[in-house]
């Protein structure tokens, strides 16, 4: 638990949050490891985990019968994977797969939600932090829509 608390406390996702946040999250967390190619989460499954990536790189993917596996994004150490637990229908929209051996802090979000309701100040701070991350992802996605490296003819 002490090791987990240290890791959770040092993760960039929680940097600068109020005292007690790391301890609260740690109470819902465990350390997990994934082999190369292993799925952290699978499209359609129940979304109940937030992954704080510690090591390795994780690909966010979707697959189609004709397209095959399409990697949409990757997340490295210090990043966060798994947001569909935030809102109904609490179902993963994509796959997340370890591109290389990966380690993460897996947070049980059902327990976390209960704890956050009990501690609204920490809850607000954590939700606000989650909003920052989601905003960053939204902005990065919009930038990619510009196709900056295209030659203009492809836009």
């Amino acid at each position: 638990m002490t090791d987990t608390l240290g890791l959770v406390g040092r993760h960039p996702f929680l940097a600068g949050l109020p005292d007690g946040t790391a301890a609260l999250v740690t109470g819902c967390a465990r350390l997990v490891a994934f082999d190369k190619g292993e799925l952290l989460l699978a499209e359609g499954g129940t979304a109940a985990t937030l992954y704080l990536i510690e090591g390795g790189r994780v690909g966010i993917e979707i697959h189609g019968p004709s397209e095959g596996r399409v990697v949409i994004d990757t997340v490295g150490p210090g990043g966060v994977v798994g947001f569909s637990w935030v809102a109904p229908p609490f179902r993963w929209q994509f796959d997340a797969r370890a591109f290389e051996p990966a380690t993460a802090i897996a947070v049980d979000t059902e327990r976390l939600r209960t704890r956050l309701v009990e501690h609204p100040a920490v809850g607000y701070a954590l939700v606000e932090r989650l909003s920052w991350v989601l905003l960053g992802l939204l902005q990065a996605t919009r930038i990619r829509l510009l196709d900056l490296y295209g030659d203009g003819r492809r836009r």
Partner: protein, 289 residues
């Protein structure tokens, strides 16, 4: 004997910055489906000295002229290299120049990266998007070599549209083996790609450089320059220690014609490399009417 099919330059014109000198194409390398590197040497004499980040005006005779950055290392013996992206009639003609053919060269022009004076402990973060790695190639090669035994490190963060558009893949691997931190991300992945996917700025937090002793060199699409500059400043890099290479419609190369004006700058003369803090950060925010 003079080959009558080739342009002949009057000796007096050789001294004029507006007259192209004939250079022989002595090598041609297809880097990407739309990027070709031409290896050029003057038909007479040696190429003039140049600095990292400077550019030449290359002429495809009978078609036109385009500003192309020099992508080889200054002081390196032998011919000079230009990496050209095929985006229009002139660059298309240049990309299709054959070994043994002749192109015109004027230059070198402009202000370069000015990295020769950096002390060895300075860490250098290079952020390049697409063809933006070409004007940085010589500087990175030089910096990696100079830092092999020194305390400073080079961080090369490169973005490309897709894996088949990653420029200078061999150089990137060579720099990595020589001790540089090299990270590449693509906007659109293919099934065989196992690297990062996303915008190039996402590579910045993962690069373990010390912002307090960092100089950053940025080249790529202007929107990317703006975002990368901001991300580096947010990370603690001094805006005055960030340099960006601007791209404009360079024509004369010597600040006479005004085609490349950007705010108070004539980019061909006052750039292409300018400081980010207090200059490029504002110019890159200007809205064209």
């Amino acid at each position: 004997m003079v080959d009558v099919a080739e342009p002949v330059t009057h000796p007096a014109a050789l001294r004029s910055p507006l007259s192209p000198r004939p250079y022989r194409v002595v090598g041609r390398r297809v880097d990407l489906v739309d990027v070709v590197t031409l290896v050029l040497e003057p038909r007479l004499g040696q190429p003039p000295p140049f600095a990292h980040g400077q550019f030449n005006m290359l002429t495809a005779f009978g078609v036109g002229e385009a500003a192309i950055s020099i992508s080889s290392v200054p002081r390196a013996p032998g011919p000079i290299e230009h990496s050209i992206r095929d985006v229009g009639p002139v660059t298309h003609a240049l990309c299709n120049a054959e070994v043994g053919g002749v192109v015109g060269v004027r230059g070198p022009f402009g202000i370069g990266w000015d990295v020769d004076g950096l002390d060895d402990a300075t860490e250098v973060v290079v952020v390049a998007g697409g063809i933006g790695l070409a004007p940085l190639r010589g500087a990175v090669a030089d910096l990696v070599e100079r830092r092999r035994e020194a305390g400073g490190r080079v961080y090369v963060l490169a973005g490309a549209r897709s894996p088949d558009q990653v420029l200078f893949a061999d150089d990137l691997e060579r720099w990595r083996r020589a001790g540089a931190h090299v990270a590449v991300t693509v906007d659109i992945a293919t099934p065989d790609w196992s690297g990062a996917v996303g915008v190039v700025t996402t590579l910045i937090p993962e690069a373990p450089f010390d912002p307090a002793r960092t100089v950053a060199l940025l080249c790529g699409p202007e929107i990317m320059l703006r975002l990368a500059g901001r991300a580096l400043v947010d990370d603690g890099v001094d805006p005055a220690r960030i340099r960006v290479s601007l791209e404009r419609n360079m024509q004369c190369g010597v600040g006479l014609c005004g085609h490349c004006q950007l705010g108070p700058l004539l980019v061909c003369r006052d750039g292409p490399v300018v400081r980010y803090g207090g200059l490029a950060d504002e110019l890159l925010m200007e809205r064209q009417r």
